[in-house]
């Protein structure tokens, strides 16, 4: 059986976050260029041009794209035929995060206690690890640093099954409209439908990892994604909320079976600095 060492995990995590923080994914960059073709608002266009310029500066000078280098969210899909040769996987991932945020001169944005102490942990740990066993002999790791501004505009609601498609649409659009310019539009909207309370939120987060332009494999959900994107871009919020045509670059839906009594819907908003990077070990 294949073995993966603690040191391999640390190195992989470190490199993923170092890259993710500085290099904007190509699909996001292309979406900026395409947005320039349709954006009518002069302020909106000025914002898009700044974002393109910012991408180039970050790349050339090795600087963080955004000062909010985020909560270190990590997805690990671990093949059941792979052995972990080490003591503590969670600690190995944390060590990788620690090294990336130090070597990358990234901001440390995590406080130890949400309510009372709120003292900065100083190394951006702990990370947030989503771990899943999958069949096979590979380990897939995705690093997705998540900024606080867009995370704060996210929402979850337990709808009634009777609310149906219209209820879902209303909740997604309401959430985006209420967020306005706060989450740094143009945004990507991750929608998780079904499962339980926490599963819908997880699906919404996972939906953000999808490449822009790629749709759900189920045509009904793919059509709902397209319809929601059109509706959201009619809201007029525009780049940074200054008014315009391009409020969202994509709406991505993930779904899961759910209880006969339930229709959970979660909306996770991603700012335009949609950073993620993956590796297969």
């Amino acid at each position: 059986m294949k073995k993966i060492t603690e040191e391999q995990i640390i190195e992989a995590i470190k490199n993923l976050f170092l890259d993710a923080g500085k290099f904007l994914p190509e699909d996001v960059y292309c979406a900026f260029e395409n947005s320039l073709k349709v954006e009518e608002s002069p302020l909106g266009r000025a914002v898009l041009e700044q974002l393109i310029e910012n991408k180039k500066i970050a790349e050339n000078d090795g600087m963080a794209l955004c000062q909010d280098t985020g909560f270190a969210v990590v997805f690990v899909e671990w093949g059941t035929r792979v052995i972990f040769d080490g003591k503590d996987l969670f600690e190995a991932v944390n060590e990788g995060v620690r090294r990336a945020y130090k070597d990358g001169y990234y901001r440390k944005s995590i406080v130890n206690d949400p309510l009372f102490d709120r003292k900065n942990t100083g190394d951006n740990t702990p990370c947030l690890l989503h771990f899943e066993f999958v069949p096979g002999e590979n380990v897939r790791i995705i690093a997705a640093p998540k900024g606080g501004g867009s995370e704060n505009m996210s929402a979850i609601k337990m709808l009634r099954p009777a609310d149906g498609v219209e209820g879902v649409k209303r909740f997604v659009i309401e959430t985006v409209e209420k967020a306005g310019g706060n989450p740094c539009p143009p945004i990507i909207v991750g929608v998780g439908i079904g499962g339980t309370f926490e599963k819908s939120a997880y699906l919404a987060k996972k939906a953000l990892l999808r490449e822009i332009g790629e749709h759900n494999k189920d045509d009904r959900y793919a059509n709902l994604e397209r319809e929601l994107l059109t509706e959201i871009n009619k809201l007029g919020i525009g780049p940074m909320g200054f008014g315009g045509r391009v409020t969202a670059l994509a709406v991505n839906i993930e779904y899961y079976p759910c209880h006969i009594a339930s229709l959970p819907v979660a909306v996770n908003i991603q700012c335009h600095s949609a950073r993620h990077k993956e590796v297969i070990l």
């Binding site: 009518e40 608002s41 302020l43 000025a46 914002v47 700044q50 974002l51 310029e53 910012n54 500066i57 970050a58 000078d61 090795g62 600087m63 963080a64 794209l65 955004c66 000062q67 909010d68 280098t69 001169y105 990234y106 901001r107 440390k108 944005s109 709120r118 900065n120 100083g122 606080g148 501004g149 704060n152 306005g180 310019g181 706060n182 740094c184 009619k234 809201l235 007029g236 919020i237 525009g238 940074m240 909320g241 200054f242 008014g243 315009g244 045509r245 700012c271 335009h272 600095s273």
Partner: protein, 184 residues
């Protein structure tokens, strides 16, 4: 057309700025975000002196990344302003003139901007590497223990921003959306 303005801000400069104006700011500005605001307002409540002269000052809502060797500052884009809404009116009353951030302000803040003749600018969130290029010097003036949330005195040159809330009660977020919203 871009309006060039210098800090500290006078009532005369502010009276010429209108919602939607593109500006370039040159001069000293101070950084402060959540934790620093909490401390500043506590000082005011206790009748104590603030760690910098707030009269005519501009506060930039930012928590930058650390500077690499040879850099003045790391990436430094604006953070969302509404979190500072509970504190901003008190600071405006004490003489604060300008705020740079992103996102909509509360009614209380918008009213205080009109009442105390202040101004609220937005810069492009996430354009943090680009905005850092306009920061020419940086020194910590208070609350070093807060790390990225410490209060820094920055000298900026031609720092790009947009007027959101002016003393005439206008709001760019409301007007912009109204102009581009498609109603069916």
């Amino acid at each position: 057309m871009i309006k060039k303005i210098n800090t500290p801000l006078s009532d005369e400069i502010i009276s010429q700025l209108k919602c939607g104006d593109l500006v370039e700011i040159t001069g000293v500005i101070f950084t402060a975000r959540d934790a620093a605001h909490k401390r500043l307002v506590e000082l005011i409540k206790d009748g104590k002196e603030l760690p910098f002269d707030i009269r005519g000052a501009v506060i930039y809502y930012v928590g930058p990344t650390p500077a690499k060797p040879g850099q003045v500052i790391g990436s430094a884009g604006p953070t969302t302003s509404y979190r500072m809404d509970p504190y901003a009116p008190v600071l405006l009353e004490k003489g604060l003139k300008g705020m740079i951030g992103k996102g909509k302000r509360s009614k209380e803040v918008r009213d205080a901007i009109v009442k105390y003749k202040g101004i609220y600018f937005a810069s492009t969130g996430g354009a943090a590497a680009l905005l850092a290029k306009h920061i020419k010097s940086s020194e910590i003036v208070a609350y070093e223990d807060l790390g990225p949330e410490a209060i820094r005195k920055l000298y900026v040159e031609n720092f790009p921003a947009i007027v959101v809330n002016d003393i005439y009660g206008n709001d760019l977020y409301e007007e912009g959306v109204k102009r581009y919203k498609i109603n069916e």
